[in-house]
Amino acid sequence: MRKFIKKTILFLLLLVIINLTFHCFLTKEVVFNKYIYNGQNLEKYNVFILSDSHGEALKNLTNQFNIFNFSYVGDNYQDMYYKLLYLSSHIDSNDVILITVNHHTLSKYRDVSNNTIRNLMYVNNIENVFDDDLNTEFHKSKLFKKVPLLVGNYGSFYFDYIKNHLKDGFFDDLSFANVPAIKQKKQIESRFNQQFGNDDNSEKGLFFLNKIIEISKKYKFQLKGIKYPVSNLYYNKIKDFDMNAEMVLTLNNIETIDFQKKYFFSDDMFKDQDHLNKKGAQVLLEKLKVILN
C-alpha cells in the first residue's frame, strides 16, 4: 500500500508541475495574447474592432494602422460585450470601438455557435439572463485560469490555439474569383442557410447589443458600426434578409461605416463568399483609416 500511495502522490506531483507550467507559461498566452492578434499593450491603441470571423479576417494587418483587432471566429454580441467590459478597464474614454453590424449578426444561429464559455474569462462578474449553465461555466472559467488541468472541457482552447497558429495565414491568399461557378453557388447556398435559416432575430443578441451601447455611453467610448463587404453574388442573395443590427445603432444615433454599399470589393479580394482575403483586408483597412481620420 505504501508503495502505491508513494507512487500515486509522485505522479500527482508531476501533474501539479505540469499544471503550474500551463498556468504560468501557456494559459495567459492562450487566453489573452495570441487568441487576439495584437499582443497585450492595449494602451497604445485608440481604435478597437469587435467582430466575428469578418473582423478576424483582417488578422494582424490592423497593426500597421494602429488598430487593435479583438475579433474571433464565431463571436456573438454577448462575447463582444464581455470583451468590451475587459477593454473598459484598460483603455481610455474617447477611444473608438468598431462593432460589426452585418446582416446576419442578430441571427439566432449565433446563439448556438459562439465563444461565450471562453470569453467569460475576460470578466469578473456576469449578468445571467439567458443561460442556465452560465454561472457554472463562469466559475469553471475562473478555476481554469488557476488549475487548467482540472477543467477538462477547456483543454480544447490550447488545441484550437495550436491549430489556428499552424494554419494562420495559410488560407489568406485564396481568391473567391478562382472558385468554379457551380461551387460558388453551392457555397453561397450553404452559407445562406446557415446564417438565415431561421427568420427570427436573436433576443439574446439584441439584449447584448443594447448592453454594448449602454456600456459605451457609460465609458464615453465612440461606438461605431462596421458593415464588412461580402462578394457581389452573396450580397445579391442576402440583401433582403437584414436582421437589422445596423438599425439598432441608428436608433441610438450611432453611425455605421458601410463597406457593402459605398465601396466596391471585387471577388479576388475575398477568400470565400463573405470573408476578405489578405488583399481585401489591406484595401479595407486603408479605406477605414481615411474614414476615421
Binding site: 502505491f4 488541468l149 477538462g152 472541457n153 483543454g155
Partner: protein, 486 residues
C-alpha cells in the same frame, strides 16, 4: 454518476480511503461500504430505481437459500421459475412493454384490425439488463448445484450492486465474483497499479476515441441523405470505433476500479477488431454477455449437438435474443439476425474455432491472409453496425443503398484529419498490446528491474495520454455511455 465525471473523481478516492484505511480489517464493514457506495453511485441517476434492485436482490437471496433446503424437483423448478419470472418480468415491463404492444398493434393493423395504441410512458432504469442477468446467473447456478447459495446477506447485496460493473457490466458470474466477497481482501500493489493503468486507458478510449467519433458518426447518420457513399462508409467506421471505445472503455474503467478494491473481474473485450473471422470476433466482443448466452441459453437448447437444423435453429435463437437484449427495436433484432447469417457458414463448415490464438502471434505484422481476414471481418461488422445504429430497418437499408454506389469511390466530404491521427495512434497501441488484457498492461515477461528501468518512459507515456485526454477529449456532458440504455 458516470465514470468520466468530476463527481466520480471525488467519489472514487473517498471510497478507496474509507475502504482501505477505516475498514481495513473488517470484511463485513468493507462489504457494507461497497453496498452503500454502490447505492449512492446508482441513486445518483434516479434513486427511485434503487427499489427495483433491492427487490430483485431480496427475491434471489431468499430463493437461493430455499433452493438449497428444497430437494423436491418440482418445488425447485417452481422456485427457479419464480426468480426468472420476477427478473425477466421487470426487464420485460420496463424495456419491452411498449415494443411488444406497438408491434402487436402494427401486426393486427396490417391485417385490417384496428387497435388503439396503449403505449406507456416508461422510463428505462439504467443498467437493468446487466444486473438482471447477473442475478439470474446466480439463481440458475444454485439451481444446477454449481454454486452453494450464500447466507451472508451483505455479500450477496454487494455482489448484485457492485458499483464498478453495476450499470454496464461486465456481467459477472456468481461463481467468479461472489466468493471474492467472502474472502479477506489484501491490497496488492501490482493489481492496483495495473488497475490505475486500465482506468486511464478506458478514459482515453471513452473521452478521446468514442466521444470524438460520436460527433462525426451522429452527423453522418442523422443526415445520411446528404452524403456520398464514401462518407457513409466512413460514418459506419466512426460508429464502429465509437461503440467499441465507449463500451470497452467502460469495461476497462470498471475492471480497473474493481482491482483497486481487490477484486478481479473477467476480461470483457479482447481486441475484437483484430479478429480474422466473425466467430473469433464474437469470442472477443462483449465476452461476458456472449458466454452468458452460451451457458444459459445455447447449451440448454442443445448447443452444437444434434443435427444441422438444430444447430441453425440454436444459432439464430442466440443471436436474435442477443440482439433483443440490446434494445426494444427491430433494428437490434435484425442486427442479431445478420450476425447469425455471418456466423452460420463457419459453423456448418465446422470452421468456427479456426482462430483461438492471437493474430500474428510472435510477429509484428499480420500475414497477408490474416490482414485480408481481419479487414473483411471489420467490414462486415461495420455493415451490421449500420442496422444497430439506424433509427429503423428501412433507414438502414436506404443507408446501405446510398453507400454502395458510384459515390463510394469519391473523396469523403467529412475528413477530420486530427481524429484520423488519434485513431491511428490508438490502433497502433492496441495492436502492440493485443496479447495483453488492455492497452496499458505491462508485459508479464518483464522483470521488476526491467519495469523500473522503463519507469521514465512509461510515466511520460501516461502523461502524454492524460494531456491527449485533456486537449483532444470531448467533455460534452450530454454524451453518456451507449450501453447505459441497454
Amino acid at each position: 454518476m458516470i465514470f468520466n465525471s468530476l463527481e466520480f473523481g471525488i467519489f472514487l478516492p473517498l471510497v478507496f480511503i474509507l475502504y482501505w484505511f477505516l475498514f481495513k480489517n473488517k470484511l463485513s464493514a468493507q462489504n457494507f461500504l461497497i453496498v452503500a457506495a454502490s447505492y449512492v453511485f446508482y441513486g445518483w441517476w434516479d434513486w427511485r430505481f434503487l427499489s427495483l434492485i433491492i427487490f430483485s436482490t431480496l427475491i434471489d437471496y431468499f430463493i437461493g437459500i430455499s433452493l438449497e433446503k428444497e430437494e423436491r424437483l418440482s418445488y425447485r423448478k417452481l422456485l427457479l421459475w419464480s426468480s426468472i419470472f420476477v427478473n425477466l418480468g421487470f426487464l420485460g415491463f420496463f424495456k419491452y412493454y411498449n415494443f411488444f404492444v406497438d408491434s402487436f398493434v402494427d401486426a393486427f393493423s396490417f391485417f385490417g384490425y384496428k387497435f388503439g395504441s396503449s403505449s406507456l410512458n416508461i422510463l428505462l432504469p439504467v443498467g437493468i439488463s446487466f444486473y438482471t442477468f447477473q442475478t439470474l446467473s446466480y439463481t440458475i447456478d444454485v439451481y444446477k448445484k454449481n454454486l452453494k447459495p450464500t447466507k451472508d446477506f451483505f455479500s450477496f447485496v454487494a455482489f448484485v450492486s457492485f458499483f464498478p460493473q453495476l450499470v454496464a457490466g461486465p456481467i459477472e458470474r456468481a461463481t467468479n465474483l461472489l466468493p471474492q466477497f467472502h474472502k479477506k481482501r489484501i491490497f496488492n500493489y501490482k493489481s492496483a497499479s495495473d488497475g490505475m493503468r486500465q482506468i486511464l486507458w478506458g478514459l482515453f478510449k471513452k473521452i478521446v476515441i468514442a466521444d470524438n467519433c460520436a460527433i462525426f458518426a451522429n452527423q453522418i447518420f442523422d443526415n445520411y441523405q446528404d452524403y456520398s457513399g464514401s462518407t457513409l462508409l466512413l460514418g459506419s467506421v466512426f460508429f464502429a470505433l465509437q461503440i467499441y471505445g465507449d463500451f470497452s472503455g467502460y469495461s476497462d474503467i470498471a475492471i480497473g476500479t474493481s482491482r483497486l478494491f481487490g477484486f478481479n473481474l473477467k476480461q470483457n473485450f479482447a481486441f475484437p477488431y483484430f479478429s480474422r473471422d466473425i466467430a473469433e470476433f464474437w469470442r472477443r466482443w462483449h465476452i461476458s454477455l456472449s458466454t452468458w448466452f452460451r451457458d444459459y441459453l445455447y447449451i440448454p437448447l442443445g448447443g452444437s449437438k444434434g443435427g444441422v437444423w438444430s444447430k441453425i435453429k440454436n444459432t439464430f435463437i442466440i443471436f436474435i435474443v442477443s440482439g433483443l437484449w440490446h434494445g426494444a427495436n427491430w433494428t437490434f433484432i435484425f442486427w442479431g439476425f445478420l450476425n447469425a447469417c455471418y456466423f452460420l457458414p463457419l459453423m456448418i463448415l465446422n470452421k468456427n474455432r479456426r482462430y483461438t490464438d492471437t493474430i500474428a502471434e510472435g510477429r509484428l505484422l499480420p500475414s497477408f491472409k490474416e490482414f485480408i481476414g481481419m479487414s473483411f471481418t471489420f467490414f462486415i461488422t461495420c455493415v451490421a453496425w449500420i442496422f444497430f445504429r439506424a433509427e429503423s430497418i428501412s433507414i438502414a437499408f436506404d443507408y446501405l443503398k446510398r453507400t454502395f454506389n458510384d459515390s463510394l469511390f469519391s473523396i469523403p466530404s467529412v475528413f477530420p484529419k486530427v481524429l484520423f491521427m488519434i485513431i491511428g495512434f490508438f490502433i497502433i497501441v492496441e495492436w502492440l498490446q493485443r496479447n495483453e488484457q488492455h492497452g496499458l498492461e505491462i508485459s508479464k515477461n518483464l522483470t521488476e528491474d526491467e519495469k523500473d528501468k522503463f519507469l521514465f518512459l512509461r510515466w511520460s507515456f501516461y502523461v502524454i495520454l492524460i494531456l491527449m485526454i485533456y486537449f483532444l477529449g470531448n467533455f460534452d456532458t450530454d454524451i453518456e455511455f451507449i450501453y447505459f440504455q441497454f
